[in-house]
Symmetry: C2
Subunit: 199 residues, 2 copies
Amino acid sequence: MSQQIEPIQRMVSALARLPGIGQKTAQRLAYHIVSLPLEDVHDIANSIWQGRKAIRYCETCGNYASQEHCAVCANPTRHNGQICVVRDPRDVAAMERMHDYHGLYHVLHGTLSPMDGVGPDDIHIRELLARLGQENVTEVILATNPDIEGEATATYIARLLKPMGVRCTRIAHGVPVGSDLEYADEVTLSKALEGRREM
Amino acid sequence: MSQQIEPIQRMVSALARLPGIGQKTAQRLAYHIVSLPLEDVHDIANSIWQGRKAIRYCETCGNYASQEHCAVCANPTRHNGQICVVRDPRDVAAMERMHDYHGLYHVLHGTLSPMDGVGPDDIHIRELLARLGQENVTEVILATNPDIEGEATATYIARLLKPMGVRCTRIAHGVPVGSDLEYADEVTLSKALEGRREM
């Protein structure tokens, strides 16, 4: 006899596919979910599914959006002379948590990685260049992760932008090298922004 | 400006209500979910909701079931002379993981707790007594948690069953006192079953 009935087993398998959730945690979560009132479970499942369905990409910067433009691009009080270039939408959320940056973003949706076959055409570099032509941009802040791919991507973009006369800066290595931007605390991120240097 | 758009914020709130999932973990999970293909997210949300909807209680023992009877009660090879009394369906899953027990179960859905106003009529003790009248039971194994409420519940049931001439045993304190049955490893649970004593 299997240890779990099929509906619970399916729930465990689905939850165990999420990052950082192992078999034991998934089991604990599944048994908790099964013990909740129907409305609560509907609310959880619904917010996951409807939330995912509602997500689209901002037509300007590539950040997550629920309308044509993301909350940052749609905000007229943001300083449109600065563009902060990040890898993922979650990095936008990390930057926004520090409340110190008032410019716009550009989400690359990846970093250059020749080992994995990711070249300049596979990430949103072309879209960044197009924005520089249209918008009144005076500075591009390169805030890709401080790891090998992130550094390589920043260097690549800086070399492209230099001839265009755009000021190109890199966030300081206040963020611990080899870590993930998403997990940096607000103070570290703030220091990193402050100590940005010419490239 | 809020740090997250509404669909993501809703997902984070829903996930953060689950046990052991804090705000940061919920955010990480939400951003991961949002980056998954639509089908995968549908699968996750669906297995949570359909799984919860499919769950009912076994009419005999109170365990989780997807039909009228749970997988244990419906299995004709299980020894029907033994009933193991546990607090929750998740404790049935813990017992089943050790593969050493071949009898039936009875799920109380709670333990006696005068402090919280939980008396004998609030948990499934009456249903247990009814089963003893109908079925050919020679032993009731009391496997409630080894904490104050669990001990009190076991003692209470043992006192009720003694006059009925049913052998009543308690799992040994091989399981660490004050812990939760759900987290005991298979070997510890096996030792606890082996060393059960008369009450």
